[in-house]
Amino acid sequence: MNATFYVSATVAVLATALAITRPNVVHALLYLIVSLLAVALVLYTLGAPFVAALEVIIYAGAIMVLFVFVIMMLNLGAQAAEQERKWMRPTTWLGPALLALILAGELIAVLAGAGGEATAARPIEPKQVGLALFGPYLLGVELASMLLLAGLIGASHLGRHRRPRDREGGA
């Protein structure tokens, strides 16, 4: 189980690093899907099978499909990747990358000094998660449903095609 964790953690970090540096959006998306699947495996080894399944179904499935649909609608050509390459000069990314690296180093230094607490030996079953979700966290579920409704209305409003006449007047 330990080896599975470390191998999939390495895959996740590598795939994410590649995903944020690709000039082509579709390549980046494919790397990100690999990264999300690796994180799902990590979640499984941490004893959270329910959440691992959700990661595959919703993150790697639904959300990434949304990204792919939008990229298909944008119909970006080869010149978009060329533009990305032009934006990715070392002067652009060196500063942020260096600062992020410092933060990562601090985080790792703090966490590596801690006592090595073991994670759960037994997986936490979906039944326990469901009981907690619809028991003490019921208000959170209601709030999440309201948030999803707001997201739905917002996305449908923003994604609506307006006639040119309306665009002159409103917005």
Binding site: I20, L46, A48, L54, A97, L111, V129, G159
Partner: protein, 102 residues
Amino acid sequence: MATVPMEHGLILAGVLFVLGLAGVLARRNVVFTLLSIEVMLNAAGLAFVTAGSRWEQPDGQVMFVFILSMAAAEVAVGLALALRLYHRFKTLDGDAVREMRG
């Protein structure tokens, strides 16, 4: 069965979060910014699940479900905004809207 130390899960979450942060800071394309935000949200969820696993409580997974629904709503609105940006300015450059003219 030997289990993974909690710190290693948290370090993985931290590294993934920092990678997403670097992506947000370094990329100008709004689609890449949204992708990087997804990475950061995912890393936060991983940290919650790791902590939940340490104390053998389901609360971490409950928080992951909330983060998941929040990420779904966020990405739907964000991608709709990216589409509007592209239709209006014919570019995905986030700097194109810096004037904030209506």
